[in-house]
Amino acid sequence: STSTSTVNRNAILVSHRQKGNPLLKHVRNVKWVFADVVCDYVLGDSSCALYLSLRYHLLHPEYLYFRIKELKKNFKLRVILCHVDVVDVLKPLLEVTRTSILHECTLLCGWSFEECGRYLETIKVYENKSADNIREHMDNDYMSRLNHALTTVRRVNKTDVITLGSTFGSLSGIMDASMEELARCPGIGEAKVKRLYDTFHEPFKRVS
């Protein structure tokens, strides 16, 4: 029984209700097994998902509400996986959005069985993954940091960063440059010169 439980821990538990859902064909990167669960998919210790096709919702608008009610508060993350399979989405999507926000569910939309399946897989695979991939991070080498800072100035691109760097030698050199010196750099036009100069020379606080 220990082996089955470890299998179950690494697998998505699928409710028997979902039998025949074409989505399951596309869940290939993780194992899944049928189980007696209240929600449609158990994706981890604290996350679960309900599957809802918008077309079905149009026929049975009350379905979603009853399914959410069953869920109780056992899961931290409660996903409503909404399959957008109708063309006229405005009204049904508005209803689903409202229901999910009022009942503390996270709405994810997929436009194909492939995409819906991929959401399930990903949430399972990433169950314990850190957020580093979507957090602010940058390469720590000099050029990336310089790019990171200088490209905050609108329209300044990486080529310009190199031009500026090689012309003035260092960042403090760039920051001290006069308008005329900036204008002498190839590829840096009137507007960019002004934006750069203003960024460096306008005081942080305009009103003291």
Binding site: R28, I101, T106, E115, S166, G169, G187, E190, R206
Partner: protein
């Protein structure tokens, strides 16, 4: 004012609702706006304030015109709006003031919208007009634009612009309109059209660039995602080409593959390359190419195209080439050169010419492997000769008439040279004061010195690394160098060594010359063998004169008519030029040798010259009153400005010289820009004849009813059981920065009240519990990549029970992230599905709204607000703002801060959320920060380590182009 301008005003004022005026580019909008302002001022006393909407004030001055700056206290702004004067104001501030009641619509009598081509039904200007018109039907709205091309780019765009502005009449005044052309051609200036042939290398580069553009376009067509018709090489030369491509690709932009996106970016780069070829000198062009190669790396498609190899090769050959000194000395070297020759077989004709020259001069200097070519831009010489010729003529003239010459006043001595950019202006100025050769030598020296800087630094670094870490090349340093090597794979190592050798030689010379007299050092420089093609081959300038302006100005017939047609009565000018050619060379040397005496000599040979950068957009003609204008870079708008200047001063003698590179993209672009504008006007004229603008019984434009009545009637029927009382309005708190999007406008249209404030957390606050961060699709992808989204969601979750991420698709784009077959087989961390999944896993409390369009969003907001309390403005502002600097109380915060500089500051290493505020207190601006000592920094940042990190980063030598 000119005749046609008066007519425009008369037409405009006869219409009670205002009107939309579209002019040819270069015809003065300012005059029209100023006369509107003059008419507005008393007597008779104006009925209300005239507001001029601009995002940046145009060069326009009027004694009665003031600006309402964003950083003015809101109470001051309130009193200004009541004064019934004329003001500049940015739409963003005006929207906020209208919404908060600081500006009362009834106090406004007129609105002037500059850049009317930017108006759309969701734009800020449209929002302003609507806010005012709802309360004040009498207000007059005038729209102005001189970009007809931008008005025909979408379906029925003009009609929609007119509806947004609530105007019924459109006034079209193209350059070819009868009255305009008679006014401008009554006293035409004398025009001289000079065609300068390009050098062979320049032609080679131009062909290669055009070839590469063509190749990229073919590739783009192959993706089957764009309409082929607009994709021509000719269109590719225009900035608006990017718009054409982007407009087509935008709906599916996020579904495009990397390669297609890169192609679009490459086309922009190539367009620049074509443009810079005729604008920059050979050395600067090469420098730009080098930087481009260093930054573009392996991602660019075009860099590896066949023809792009030629671009680099030709660009190099205009500056220098590597030759073996005696063949036996460095065998590998000859091999390299040989292989290069083979690759360039098809261009052998051009290169042979070079080779001969260089070899002959090389005999004199054995052991040197680097051969300077330093091709001078042909236009430089022509400009100089032209100036000399002008001066010669003047001198003759004044001798003949004994001082009677200056009957036009003393100012006519000024010669205006108009270049595209400041850079060329400064360079040309140097050319005139210091001499052509000196300028190109200086650029070349800088180029070489730059190389040596980089080399010495990389050596230092390597040593440092070896000492400190023991395994030298295996740390970070190695990887960047390796990357560079891959990029530079086509560059051979030897060539680099040669360049560096030359660089170090120059550096030594520099050092020795510092101690010695400047005279000999200059002598040394000029004695360097310069293989100057321009000097040798007699410049084949075709000078032709035509008295007929119409040929050259306005309509573009001069292409066929004037090239090659040397007018007989001007033949003497050629011989004169030759003579001056001989004279000018000794002069130049004298000039450079004795910099102190230049003033005297200079005045004799060259007339006073004023340089003007067309890009700077200053109205210089009326200020300088030049009698001779040399248009160094032809530009349609500037040509029109000259025409108007002449028409304004009919008695003044004016001669205009145009310098064109023959058969260049420059000519092509100039002619095409006129044709494009004419086509746009023709289409506008057609649209005007078919236009239907709906009006109500009073003759007012429809569509400006008060949304308040709308929501009241709706709520009384639909939400009879709701707990909203009649008259109580739904409120949404909106971040000031969001007024750049159209959502606030649309929300307002649905009848909700909008409270504009500056929010530290979130974009919209719907209720005390619900806070929304809005992301358009492009924003979503971008802010996932930068990590901003994570931070924003984190902040929202910290302060609000229901944090919401709104993903807003755009109506005209597809409602999906990706098609099924683009999803791939594996879970990939770069896919949007993965990023969203990760986000919701880490923020299980985060709610998502998927909205089809802005309009859908407004509806969702309304439905979410049912049964919720209204948000508290005061609380919302405080959220996320650290309490210790709790001075925040006014909503003009965003205007009071240099947000760009702050964002920049926060991205510097060592700067954290905790210390950036005290840094801002401690130094006034970034420029000041650049000079602050570590000790002071440590004090401000509260730590030695952070201070050192920042200081080191600021001072670190920028090693950019390692090879």
């Amino acid at each position: 004012m000119l005749g046609y301008e008066e007519e425009i005003m008369a037409e405009l004022l006869s219409e009670s609702s205002g009107g939309l005026v579209v002019l040819s580019s270069g015809l003065r909008l300012q005059t029209l706006v100023t006369s509107l302002i003059s008419l507005h001022s008393p007597p008779p006393p104006p009925t209300g304030t005239l507001l001029i909407l601009t995002s940046s004030p145009p060069p326009l001055s009027h004694p009665l015109l003031a600006e309402i700056p964003g950083d003015l206290l809101s109470s001051h702004r309130e009193s200004l709006y009541k004064t019934k004067r004329s003001f500049f104001v940015t739409p963003r501030i005006l929207i906020a003031d209208l919404l908060t009641g600081r500006c009362e619509p009834r106090d406004v009598s007129g609105i002037v919208v500059m850049d009317a081509h930017r108006v759309s039904d969701t734009s800020k200007e449209a929002f302003v007009v609507r806010l005012v018109k709802i309360k004040n039907k009498e207000v007059r709205v005038w729209g102005f634009s001189n970009r007809p091309q931008a008005m025909v780019s979408g379906f029925a765009k003009v009609e929609r612009i007119m509806l947004c502005l609530g105007v019924r009449k459109i006034h079209l005044w193209p350059r070819f309109q009868v009255q305009v052309s008679t006014d401008l051609e009554k006293n035409p200036p004398e025009v001289v059209d000079i065609r300068v042939p390009m050098t062979l290398a320049m032609k080679g580069i131009q062909n290669a660039v055009l070839g590469t553009i063509d190749a990229c376009l073919k590739e783009l067509r192959g993706t089957n995602k764009v309409d082929v018709e607009d994709l021509t090489v000719e269109n590719g030369l225009f900035k608006s080409f990017d718009e054409i491509v982007r407009r087509q690709l935008d709906p599916i932009w996020h579904t495009l593959g990397k390669k297609t996106r890169q192609l679009v970016a490459d086309l922009t780069t190539l367009r620049k390359l074509a443009d810079y070829l005729v604008r920059y000198d050979a050395v600067t062009y090469l420098k730009y190419l080098d930087t481009l190669r260093a930054s573009a790396g392996t991602r660019s498609v075009w860099i590896f195209a066949d023809s792009s190899y030629k671009i680099f090769e030709f660009a190099k050959r205009r500056v220098y080439q590597v030759v073996s000194s005696d063949g036996s000395k460095v065998t590998s070297n000859t091999k390299v050169v040989g292989s290069k020759k083979r690759k360039l077989k098809d261009n052998l004709k051009n290169t042979k010419h070079h080779e001969k020259d260089s070899l002959s001069s090389n005999d004199r200097c054995t052991g040197s492997l680097l051969e300077e070519v330093l091709e001078e831009p042909p236009k430089w010489k022509v400009l100089r000769e032209l100036l000399e010729e002008i001066e010669e003529k003047r001198r003759k003239h004044s001798l003949l008439e004994e001082g009677a010459y200056d009957d036009d006043g003393g100012d006519n001595e000024i010669i205006l040279v108009a270049c595209k950019d400041e850079f060329t202006c400064m360079q040309m100025e140097d050319c005139i004061t210091k001499g052509i050769k000196q300028v190109i030598q200086k650029e070349w020296k800088n180029y070489l010195l730059n190389k040596i800087d980089i080399l010495s630094l990389s050596k230092q670094k390597k040593q440092k690394n070896q000492e400190s870490k023991g395994f030298g090349v295996l740390n970070g340093e190695f990887s960047t160098r390796a990357g560079e090597n891959i990029r530079a794979c086509s560059m051979n190592v030897l060539e680099n060594d040669v360049l560096l050798a030359a660089a170090s030689k120059i550096e030594k010379e520099e050092k020795t010359s510092i101690s010695s007299d400047p005279e000999p050092s200059i002598g040394k420089v000029s004695s360097l063998k310069v293989n100057n093609k321009c000097k040798k081959g007699s410049t084949n300038v075709l000078v032709s004169r035509t008295k007929c302006v119409n040929n050259s100005l306005g309509e573009c017939k001069h292409g066929e008519s004037s090239v090659g047609k040397k007018v007989d009565n001007e033949v003497e000018s050629d011989s004169k030029e030759d003579k001056q050619d001989n004279v000018s060379i000794p002069f130049l040397q004298k000039h450079s040798a004795n910099p102190k005496r230049t003033d005297l000599n200079h005045a004799k040979s060259l007339p006073p010259v004023q340089f003007y950068a067309i890009d700077s957009g200053k109205n210089i003609l009326d200020m300088m009153k030049p009698s001779i204008i040399i248009v160094y870079h032809p530009d349609m708008t500037f040509v029109r400005e000259i025409e108007i200047y002449k028409a304004d001063n009919p008695s003044k003698k004016l001669r205009v010289y145009f310098l064109f590179y023959e058969d260049s993209t420059e000519v092509q672009k100039f002619e095409a820009s006129i044709q494009r504008e004419n086509r746009a006007f023709e289409s506008l004229i057609k649209q005007k004849s078919l236009m239907v603008i709906p009006v109500d019984q009073d003759g007012q434009c429809t569509g400006f009813s008060d949304p308040e009545s709308l929501i009241l009637s709706r709520s009384s029927t639909r939400k009879a059981g709701g707990r909203k009382l009649k008259g109580e309005k739904m409120q949404v708190i909106v971040d000031m920065r969001e007024f750049n999007s159209s959502l606030p406008n649309v929300i307002h249209q649905t009848g909700m009240r909008i409270i504009p404030v500056t929010l530290e957390v979130g974009d919209y606050v719907l209720s005390p519990a619900i806070c929304v961060e809005r992301k358009s699709i492009a924003d979503l992808f971008q802010s996932f990549a930068s990590g901003r989204l994570y931070h924003q969601v984190e902040m929202m979750s910290r302060y609000y029970p229901i944090p919401v991420l709104l993903i807003e698709f755009s109506q005209d784009k597809s409602f999906s992230f990706q098609s099924a077959n683009e999803i791939g087989d594996d879970v990939s961390s770069s896919n949007i599905v993965s990023k969203l999944s990760l986000l919701v896993l880490h923020f299980p409390r985060l709610r998502l709204i998927w909205s089809r369009s802005v309009h859908a969003t407004a509806e969702i907001f309304a439905s979410l607000k049912i049964n919720q309390d209204e948000p508290d403005e005061v609380k919302a502002i405080r959220v996320g703002v650290p309490s210790e600097d709790g001075i925040v109380e006014d909503d003009v915060r965003a205007e009071n801060y240099n947000t760009g500089a702050i964002e920049f500051l926060r991205r510097l290493p060592g700067v954290t959320d905790a210390n950036y505020r005290s840094l801002m207190d401690g130094c006034n601006s970034l420029a000041e920060l650049a000079d602050i000592s570590v000790e002071k920094l440590a004090e401000l940042m509260g730590g030695q380590k952070a201070a050192r990190t920042l200081r080191e980063f600021l001072d670190a030598k920028c090693v950019t182009m390692l090879r």
